[in-house]
Symmetry: C2
Subunit: 272 residues, 2 copies
Amino acid sequence: MSFEVIKKHKTFGGETVFASHQSKATKTEMKFSYFLPKQKVDSAIIWLSGLTCTEENFITKAGAQFHLKDSNTMIICPDTSPRGLDLPNEHESYDFGSGAGFYLNATTEDYKENYNMYDYIVNDLVSLLKDSFNVNKISISGHSMGGHGALVIGLRNPEVFSKISAFSPIVNPSQCAWGQKAFTGYLGDNKEDWKNYDACELIQSGKLHPAKILIDQGLNDEFYPNQLLSENLEKVCKDKDQELELRYQDGFDHSYYFISSFIKDHIEFHLD
Amino acid sequence: MSFEVIKKHKTFGGETVFASHQSKATKTEMKFSYFLPKQKVDSAIIWLSGLTCTEENFITKAGAQFHLKDSNTMIICPDTSPRGLDLPNEHESYDFGSGAGFYLNATTEDYKENYNMYDYIVNDLVSLLKDSFNVNKISISGHSMGGHGALVIGLRNPEVFSKISAFSPIVNPSQCAWGQKAFTGYLGDNKEDWKNYDACELIQSGKLHPAKILIDQGLNDEFYPNQLLSENLEKVCKDKDQELELRYQDGFDHSYYFISSFIKDHIEFHLD
């Protein structure tokens, strides 16, 4: 699986690169960014961004390159949905359709052909990392909708993703407005189908990850607790013996200023 | 001189803040951002951004907060021009008018009332730092057009600005297309008037700074050498005994990925 470099910026000794490739899962061109340190890499962190983001937000704002520059680990940041389509209701709202793929495989008539971000990450992006970058260890992290994606994808594929971390994740989408809107639109009304894409439900059903999960949640986050429901994850992890370090961070909001403040800890967690 | 906080984001132990105040120099509201570490500050770095930027670019993309978080130094980032006006030709091009104030005091009829970014920095912003933040040491840095601003303002006011550094500065605006267009529009055709705002001309006329000047210039910069003319500064500094460390950085371009790669060095230079 090849890819095309769009632009490339030397960053520290390495490179910040914007690229695209054809996705089998979404049947569209998908864009992504990555940072490659100057050393040969043997591992990768996949970063999943939140609502409205593209492949650009994290790599521009998080300050991650500084903490990866002396490591053997790259970070890769895919876009948050297919692009270039014009499906019914796809571009009407910030929390559904374009920029809001929710890292699932859609089953509703309008979306099932293209909105397969779960398969895109698990198959296309993982293949790219293995085939084009010779990476032999992959872990996953993300923010908000991307934190949900990291948890769901990591819990369902612990043999592929060695570690999971998240910032301000939507941990129980079946129980919040963002998740209910997205799941109804992509998966339909049968709530049994939603459980495959809900971190709390997955852990409740016994899908555990062998490594500790690291989460940071700001206490001044404008979406906490209503959309994020962090305490629900705490409870189910305790009930099911999933190791979890959930750090409530006083005064921090939902922004990239929060992410930049703790990205060093997350990178060290993934490198460990 | 008071100011109004627009929004505030906890960042590391400190705060990234967006604010505005009324400027005597521009007779408009001026926006700025700043990062205040958690410790009491006694010094400040003024960061001047380049063409098309606002108060947001640097504070979002440069990763400076990480390197200032344990210091007693804040960084403040003003907008690059007055806003909210509708002067002739003000919004027609990216390199003149809004987003392109060039850190000078305009004398042409249309612009002289408001486009006084030189006075805005030297008077209004310095007063704000002294009065509202009790800062007793101020230094100055910037990128591209902002690197030009840092050099000109620092060279003309060495008693106010203890250090000058710059990334990819326009060092000799009288001799490049960007500078000629801006100076003609803001200052008119008399090239003698241009010399007050041209770092090479200032040094040539004996305006030296007692401290070493630090500059980083990427060798893959799309505007080097044509618009930036770095070698002209090297030559005049040598001729006039102005201490200069001009580092040509192989492979780096004009972007914030370049700035983020060397901002640590610049901050350490200013803190020293």
